[in-house]
Symmetry: C2
Subunit: 299 residues, 2 copies
């Protein structure tokens, strides 16, 4: 395999890694040049600033995933419809410099007459599958917009988005609930987090469950310092409640940052659902997986 | 009955009405002097500015409901636990000037080890019961924090809070969903509202359903101008989904501002649940209902 420059270019940051021919990470870089900071027409210059030296390696190939492929990004890479595997995505790369720099498309699917989308997560999902040697799984990629992904035969069959991280931030920063909470998130409180999970699992909707973060504070039943963890449990519990996990015996794969992965593992354990995690390495495994397929297609 | 000065003193405004001995509204006033604008110790002066002339009527009684009775208000009126009727509330008035000026306590109840509270809505609920001649009902008071209230034997047995209006405002003003929406709410779009209701009723959680306001815009399946109405349908639909309304044949009583009442009536109609509404007059009927009970106790 050719030397690969793997780039995850999101809304708020650009992360890049230089990989050797075997897909091993040789060097990583992260700069606060998310697409929202880049003026129209300025993407090539930011790419050059960040990875220009790496691109001088003979045969270097740069694959860019994430919001850089959105309408507000470098070049729009239209969504690839599900079901989609490594090969489908490789066949729909949006080439910026043919054979040298390409953008990985996000995925779309449709349920009940409503579309759903991801952009960037698909690469981490492919990385996790490759890393864990799986070709079928139920997988969750937690975050600002959590993705629950069903994989069969090595392809992403369908997925659903849950705005869990964003709801947490909205409630924490802008709602009445935030008023009784301390500044900053402080130390995580595992007991309060678990209480939040259990209450949300039992409740019918976050619209009601969230109010408990106010009343427990009002009646001095929970210390202010524990409220952020409790609220985190409420939103993650709401996300888990909405999954149809009764009777799931196969491990759910959790792919995300370490602290968040642990929270989802705890929530799933409460539901009696086994888990396995791919860890943060997954991010850099997806692009080589796509690049390998690409080599196979002779490009 | 003595001349009554009815005051609803909330977070952002103070509304007052002068009623005659039969509970008829003679005059109304509204000033932007919600409790958040009043410095500690300044409540008596604002009351005097707003209602001082009315209080010169012989035998005038002022009853104040709303957040003026909270810890951040004029005088804290501790929550009255449910079940509670007019008489229970009258017996727990927090008197500022004995026999002349009193604050109506809010209500509390408890379910699944978690308290719930209302402050101000109880008075409108009592007003609606009095106005409609009901002593048992399932009632919804929509708003920033909607209250679903079960009434039996003339007393509020229990209630649940749903942060529906606040979630709408958070998503509209601070989330990624607001970015594709026009400024201002524009003309209500009834079809988009109904589509939002139906999608939320069918969906498992707002965390997922809300994302459809982004993807429908992304794929040009809904015009930007319709998105605020669609989002309103999503949050109200989520609130309705969480009620256990299957098989409810008795009319649900809707007590709120006119435009919001119509939205809830439409949502409940989609669920096949009959409704009746008390209209905005309910606000000024609750305090005379409490005052009447008070006269009955000889105070």
């Amino acid at each position: 395999m050719r030397p690969l420059i793997a780039i995850d270019w999101g809304t708020s940051s650009l992360r890049a890694a230089r990989l050797d021919g075997q897909g091993r990470v040789l060097e990583e870089r992260s700069v606060p040049r998310g697409i929202l900071t880049v003026p129209p027409g300025g993407f090539a210059a930011v790419f050059q600033d960040t990875c220009g030296d790496w691109m001088r390696s003979p045969g270097a190939l740069a694959l860019v995933c994430g919001m850089a492929g959105s309408r507000q990004g470098w070049v729009e890479a239209p969504y690839c419809p599900c079901p989609a595997g490594f090969g489908d995505v490789a066949a729909r790369l949006a080439w910026i410099e043919p054979g040298r720099v390409a953008i990985v498309p996000g995925l779309s699917c449709e349920a009940d007459g409503v579309p759903d989308v991801m952009r960037g997560e698909e690469t981490q999902v492919f990385g996790a599958l490759d890393l864990l040697g799986l070709d079928s799984a139920l997988l969750v990629h937690p975050g600002t917009h959590s993705k629950w992904v069903r994989i069969a035969g090595g392809r992403i069959e369908s997925f659903s988005t849950f705005m869990t991280g964003e709801f947490y931030a909205l409630l924490r920063q802008h709602s009445i609930l935030g008023r009784t909470m301390p500044d900053g998130d402080g130390e995580p409180d595992a007991a309060a987090f678990e209480r939040g999970i259990r209450y949300a699992l039992h409740s019918g909707t976050l619209l009601h469950a969230a109010f408990s973060a106010r009343t427990l504070a009002l009646f001095d039943r929970m210390p202010a310092a524990a409220l952020p963890s409790y609220l985190s449990g409420l939103v993650i519990g709401e996300e888990l409640r909405a999954q149809d996990l009764a009777g799931v015996s196969e491990a759910v794969v959790v792919v995300g940052a370490e602290a968040l992965t642990r929270r989802y593992e705890l929530g799933l354990r409460i539901l009696g659902v086994p888990t396995r995690s791919a860890g943060s390495q997954a991010a850099w495994h997806g692009l080589p997986a796509i690049a390998n397929t690409l080599d196979g297609t002779g490009k």
